[in-house]
Symmetry: D2
Subunit: 94 residues, 4 copies
């Protein structure tokens, strides 16, 4: 997996307007009505991560789930991070 | 926990029109768009069950989750089964 | 996916001595110390199922998790059922 | 819920030697063999949290689950944090 260029990232992030670029990572906070819904979403993120064999950093405080995507091998954003962001976004909307 | 009378059950099930009375149990099938949503719901049911310290029979086939509620100690429906049915129903709607 | 022959099934099930052949399905009951461990195992089974895009029938009563594997398209056991049985078994042992 | 005194915290943390006191919180990192086991543990932590109606900060990076306990209402460690630490520890050992 190779590090994406700034131009590639700028282009790809247009399709994910609710995600933000923070340093070398893609980030988004998801807010739910309660902890149970947040935990259920973490399980669904876990499934997507295992299917891609690429895993996010997940932080949970009560009803908030914060996702941070970075490819640790290259310490940068790669194609895999965008694939996972899209899978997570799709799961969130369904 | 005591077994509820037929009159009590008839009364209480009015508030749960989507549930059916099958022999000595309360039952409902939940249908989801995919397996991931079904599994997430099972996790949420599990949380409700542990909070009440009363557990359902759960059956899952792909995107379907079938719930059967009975109080095993008395082999009949008790107040606990209706409490859990209401918790599950509430979780489903949120 | 094609239905496996009796000879193929007899051969393959030798590596899964704790599973039983019941009609047209592979079955195993898993017993845990409590509901929490049973639910956690269901989540792990779910991950394996999604990775293979092949899903088991899962039944849970408190601390017991019963798995039934069959390929619904052909109403018989296929290679996929053995793949999933092996994944579930591996998850159970780790 | 009232903030525990330093003496109370020093006394109580003796029973949780694998947990550390970091600023105003109780912390522990749990390491697993793979992501699937880490996610299953997060589900089990979630159950304990809901039973106590007190929730941890959970951070997950692949096979590591980091827990941070603090009572947000008082921005300090209370009896609830020790109750939850004990429940999490018990779940981890079973």
């Amino acid at each position: 997996m190779r590090k994406l260029s700034e131009i590639e990232i700028t282009e790809k992030i247009k399709e994910l307007p609710s995600w933000t670029l923070t340093g070398q990572a893609l980030e988004k906070d998801f807010h739910f009505k309660n902890f149970s819904l947040a935990l259920a979403f973490i399980v669904r993120i876990g499934i997507e991560a295992e299917k891609l064999n690429h895993h996010p950093e997940i932080k949970n405080i009560y009803s908030k789930v914060s996702i941070r995507l970075i490819t640790h091998d290259v310490q940068a954003i790669t194609h895999l991070d965008f694939l996972l962001a899209n899978s997570i976004e799709l799961a969130y909307r369904s």
